[in-house]
Subunit: 451 residues, 2 copies
């Protein structure tokens, strides 16, 4: 098998310990599980050939993008081949008039936006990490501006996918809408590499708005911050970005990113539109903030200030984990209907107050989605157990509010039991689909659910 | 079997010819295919019981909403039970703060909006017919304001579904976003009753905007009208509605709905937002229209005028078919990337000019989606053949432009060959999913594809 792989991809096959560890470890608290080999693919045809070989030998194949997922999604539970797509970085086509582009799965979101900038376009979805577009499609990722522009569910128009038997399909045409059969695009989005390997992605783009204004605003209470967001949305204000960071998270960010924000619960806002429309949005939202105990808006007027602000937000996870040197991170990820958000965050905050483990709250508050980031001492197993417990309370609380155990990170290894608690018999249907599309269970086996 | 059904549902079982015909005919050119029986279900549990019975006897069960679909989607190809959900009209919950509601599948879009109006909310998706929300989910329907608010793909948050073995599942929680496993919600949306029977639907709602302005604008050329729309979208104007009607369609509408619009290609616009923002949008779009050979905007300022305008648009299909008394209708439904739309409509218009069959063009131009409505003499088989031919040319043209054979009507019986031409091997995956979820092929058999 290894010989045959070598004949296919030459020196892009790696079996050394270091490379296998790099592909068999995780950003978070999961112990490493190494693949037997790592292959860097360069074309769709090559991906198909590797999958056919793995199918022949019944060897697992685990697609790998940037490896930034946080639920152990890329770990090689049953060994096999980690198929790294990060060298598939071709921008296949940018259709400026149609506001879409097609890229290979290994293109990263920051590189895509650099490529697009000159054309007045941008791709909105921005997880904290500089993830690959293929990986983001596979976890149904979102980010700071999903509140306005949607998640990968809304962003993906079409996919090129290598199926478990090594066939290459395209899930949809490039038209904005279609009723042509089952929605395979949305089925692969969020399937975490368990149903097929995405090699090309067509995504929607947006025009860089005439005016972009970003600001922070501190609040006396978390409730006041959340209420400001909920009321803004209810008034139809199309907030482009609205992130919540609690006092602990602001302290971490100040330290890590050298900012000087007041160490209070803070909203990070961004407004997009024409000059006039942005002014109107700001007028409304700042009035609401004032009514809800918010302070003055601190404007990040220049592009560099604005970029620094969002860079700090994107690094908030590392800022939080590094509240303790040498700590490991764990990010929870519940999402609830926004009417329940203040309550959900408030109760969570009380749980955190009762614990000695450093933890921050931050979230995509316009979507009802928030994270607790724990900074865990790796040498103290009691801490991991305690975090597991607090997380369990959070998830149960969110489910009781008709929310989900994962707003954007996916199931991976970490949330399989919660998936069943959340969706019950529906998980049986997912399993049937998995068995139908990958009967030999070679595609990222052991993820989302046991076969 | 019929006895057992009768024991289940009592006098809500019908085997009379008239009722069977009502459920086995179509709005369009398909010949009737009657079910053996019609059952009116009243609860999810009853739907599940009927499905279990049909599964036991291996009898087809065809879900039926309002029967307004246009590709023969509800015809009983293999007989069986037409399961009519139109009496399941309970509004289960309206969550005003979360902008969503849960309704039984038989609720119709107009009734839902009447229910919501007092709460300042609306449900945007509006096919011409007063369809059921379950039927609309099942065809992935859209309407005049999909350009702003999306289609049923974006509108549906969660579904309650009875599966082929009579289990009841819920596809998702009510949170706005989730990465919890495969996207079953989107899989059932657009599956035309072939994978499960939807009994409840949770949909997103929107706030009725502070200001709504509607207008019509006539153009010298179709190209000028389409360019106005494309340029508006490229400038980021959030058009709430923008519909194109060609000269023939305007003639038909004037006659049918007693309007007096100039008989030229016309755009029907609607703008939503705050007073100020709507004024700004109108300023920009009317300037673009003028540059593209558009006339003055004719405003439908009062609510009644506006409603009359959209009523006329919604009845445009009947207006077109009735260009000839006693004619039958056929509505085509291609959708292309908007950069190709003017060309696609232009070439289609040339095909129509070469034919003697009355035909109109109208469409959801902001989505790249348009229809030709033919008014066919039922006693002249040559006409049906000619329309088939023109439609084939349209679909091939759309596919060559990376478009789809159906923007919103679905595959049903009418587009099965086109589905394969459009998506090739991907249809094999759809088949595998169908076999996995409905191994005995009892759910609306013979639709979308042969088993
Ligand atoms: C600091 C930090 C901040 C983050 N913030 C966010 C956030 O705001 N929002 C958010 O959604 N996530 C966030 N994440 C999580 C992570 O960035 C996302 O899950 C991202 O989508 C993973 O992309 P990737 O390229 O790293 O994929 P990987 O981690 O390499 O893979 C993710 C999963 O997808 C599969 N996969 C990868 N590529 C393909 C492919 N081409 N075809 C099929 N399957 C494939 C893998 O097998 C795996 O199951 C954050 C992570 C970090 C470390
Ligand atoms: C004048 C006119 C204008 C139209 N304009 C538009 C338009 O602008 N946009 C558009 O998208 N469509 C349009 N249509 C088509 C039609 O209205 C849509 O296809 C609509 O979604 C059908 O809904 P229905 O309730 O009538 O479903 P039905 O016709 O009863 O059923 C449609 C399909 O869904 C299945 N089904 C129905 N209910 C369920 C359920 N509860 N669970 C599972 N499967 C179910 C049926 O088996 C069938 O396959 C128009 C039709 C007409 C006659």
């Amino acid at each position: 098998m290894v010989d045959a792989l070598g004949r296919l991809v030459g020196d892009r096959l790696h079996v050394g310990e270091a490379m296998r560890l790099e592909h068999g470890r995780s950003e978070t608290h999961f112990a490493p599980m190494l693949p037997d080999a790592v292959v860097f693919a360069e074309t769709t045809e090559e991906v198909a050939a590797v999958v056919r070989l793995c199918a022949e030998y019944r060897v697992p194949v685990i697609p790998f993008g940037a490896g930034s997922s946080v639920e152990g999604n890329t770990l090689a539970v049953h060994g096999g081949v980690s198929l790294d797509l990060s060298r598939m970085t071709r921008i296949v086509a940018v259709n400026t008039e149609d506001f879409d582009c097609t890229v290979e799965a290994g293109v990263r979101r920051e590189e895509l936006n650099e490529h697009l900038r000159d054309q007045g376009l941008f791709f909105p979805i921005d997880p904290g990490a500089n993830a690959t577009i293929g990986g983001m499609a596979s976890t149904r990722a979102s980010g700071t501006n999903a509140v306005r522009y949607g998640t990968m569910r809304e962003a993906v128009l079409s996919l090129t996918v290598v199926t478990a038997d090594g066939k290459v399909i395209r899930t949809s045409r490039r038209a904005r809408k279609s009723s042509a059969g089952y929605d395979l695009t949305r089925l692969f989005v969020g399937s975490e590499g368990t149903l097929g390997i995405i090699t090309e992605v067509t995504v929607r783009l947006h025009a860089i708005p005439e005016s972009i204004q970003a600001a922070t605003c501190s609040f006396e209470t978390i409730g006041g911050a959340v209420d400001t967001v909920v009321q803004s949305i209810q008034l139809g204000i199309p907030l482009a970005r609205v992130e919540i960071l609690d006092d602990m998270q602001i302290r971490a960010v100040n330290r890590w990113s050298k900012l000087d924000l007041p160490e209070l619960t803070t909203l990070f806002f961004e407004f997009h539109g024409s000059e006039r429309y942005v002014a109107e949005q700001i007028e409304t939202v700042s009035a609401l903030a004032a009514e809800n105990g918010g302070g003055e808006f601190r404007w990040a007027s220049r592009t560099e200030e604005r970029n620094a602000l969002w860079k700090a937000r994107h690094e908030a996870y590392y800022a939080a984990v590094n509240l303790r040197p040498g700590a490991i991170g764990w990010a929870t990820d519940v999402c609830v209907p926004i009417s329940r958000l203040a309550e959900c965050i408030g109760e969570t905050k009380r749980d955190l107050a009762a614990s000695t483990i450093p933890a921050t709250i931050l979230g995509h508050v316009g979507d009802g989605n928030f994270h607790v980031v724990f900074s865990i001492d790796p040498d103290n197993p009691a801490e991991l157990a305690e975090v597991k417990d607090i997380n369990a309370r959070m998830v149960r609380r969110a489910l009781a509010m008709d929310g989900t155990c994962t707003g954007e990170h996916g199931i991976g290894l970490g949330k399989q039991d919660w998936l069943v608690e959340e969706l019950g018999d529906a998980v049986g249907l997912m399993r049937s689909i998995k068995r139908a599309l990958d009967p030999a269970n070679i595609l990222n086996p052991g993820k989302v659910f046991a076969f």
